[in-house]
Amino acid sequence: MPNVTLAEATRLAVLQEMRRDPRIWVLGEDVARGGLFGQYRGFLEEFGERRIVSTPISESTIMGAGLGAALVGTRPIIEMRIFDFVMCAMDELVNQIAKIRYMFGGQARPAVVVRMPHGIWRNSAAQHSQMLEGWFAHLPGVIVCCPSTPADAAATMVAAIRSDDPVLVFDPKNLWGATGDIADDIAPLEFGRARHARHGDALTMVSWSACMPLAEEAADALAAQGISVDLLDLRTLAPWDADAVLASARRTGRLLVAHEAVTTAGFGAEIVAHVAERVAVRATRVGFPSVPIPFSPPLEAALRVDAAKIVSAARGLLAT
């Protein structure tokens, strides 16, 4: 399928899987009208209200009911509407879903997909813009996906749905409209395998999700200045492709991690620490300052990562 948006790519991926397996169903607010972003458009008509369940605004129960339904053999896709609302379902996700297999000695595998569209988008301010994917990478028992292209977003959904483990999919809200080609028969993504987006030897750059196009823009600007960047799109944070990052950092000796999330204790800190424990490397991170996300466009823009900030951090790193 040529030139589809990222939102449409995920719609087609879920559609493909729901046609394949009648145990798959979707629950969340407003999913019957197609979801907030059209990612379930037409599903009610095709699958009916038993499999496309528009729920009350009851995030704890949306999450917990998904788990319960998985425990009896169905395969739910739990739609959180906007990432930030998962805070109302943290017990069900962190204490229940992420623990149940281990705590019960392997008696159950909670095969749930949790979709959480995240990130800065259309000046949505502090409670509708956060990127806390690092919290969940810190949590044993879940897979954390942060795709950035239509093809990867589609492949991520297929892999997430087929996985017997709980998979958290952070849909990048700001990239819903990004376009690209996807396969007619969408194959599952391999978790923990980075995408090599640019090949270079001056510096290793790592990014994911909505920050990835900014990293590409920065890499291209640096290339125009004669600086070749080795750019990796991690795609999944748990597991993450440490081997690919280590191999690249070993070659370049310079590592830059760019993410939209707050820098302090963000996932970039884990990547830099992991690499520094193994490779002699100079490293830096680009992210949001430790400030709630402001509403007013100039305030938001002043704090948000952009390509220019990545370029300047890269030049600083190369100067050291």
């Binding site: 917990g64 319960g68 000695g105």
Partner: protein, 321 residues
Amino acid sequence: MATNSARLLALLGMMQRIRAFEETAMAGHAAGEVPGPLHPSIGQEAVAAGVCANLRIDDRLTSNHRGHGHALAKGADAARMMLELYGRAGGSCGGKGGSMHIADFSVGMLGANGVVSGGIPIAVGAAQGLQMLGSDAIVCCMFGDGAINRGPFLEGLNWAALYRLPVLFVCEDNGVAAFTATASVTAGAGVAARAESLGVPATSVDGNDAAAVDAATAALVGAVRAGSGPRLLHARTYRLTGHTSTDAAGWRAADEVAAARDNDPITRLEAVLRAEGVAQATLDALRADALREMAALRATAHVAPWPDAATAFADVIGENA
């Protein structure tokens, strides 16, 4: 023997096993053999036994932190449960859960829960899944009176009523939430009124009267299985011990505890059976058998092998090595 007496005798047998299991585990805890806290349900056995006697093995059950009795009554293997309390390899969860996380999926026991009201969303989802799969199994969801002040109670009952899910909610009302009288922190007319306000018909029962719990549950399970949507059973009972194995509960009024002892569900059921002509020796044998069974399980568990350290890494994510 009348059919009724046989059924009540079976209930008594289960109640004696629950009590003996917990008394034995408490002794093991006091002796330093059982790590971690226990939440005993001594005094509340009629609820577990009376409710679960009406469930099929393929019906599912979610439980709370005070769940030994629920698990045993649902048919979980007592030997594996005792091993789990001891943290041993053969335990229900391989030693990874302990008292507060006993699950036995082979008998539909989907797990105790360390988070108050944590089982409620799971139960409604299990019921939704069963409904989707076309099963006529139902889900029984046990929680305490403290759970009704958490959001998942409101969410879960609304949800179950909305989708007419096959759930029997059971509020085991022992009047306390940890160390606080629940009435002192609960506004309004209580759990049954709250359930009714959400469209979930509720029945209140003397939870120390095993026959009454059994009969009330039978009617509610019949309605739930027939597709009439969720029901709630409100069972009033009393926790004869402290909150945990280390709480001597000296903070309670002596006359309250004395009255509760006179209202012990086991002695009450024994009196009923004696009145129906069951010999005292038969009743005594049930207690003696249960104590013997559990003492043997304790002795076995105490010397059972610990889990292999390598299993600490199993069952986190992906396929096990």
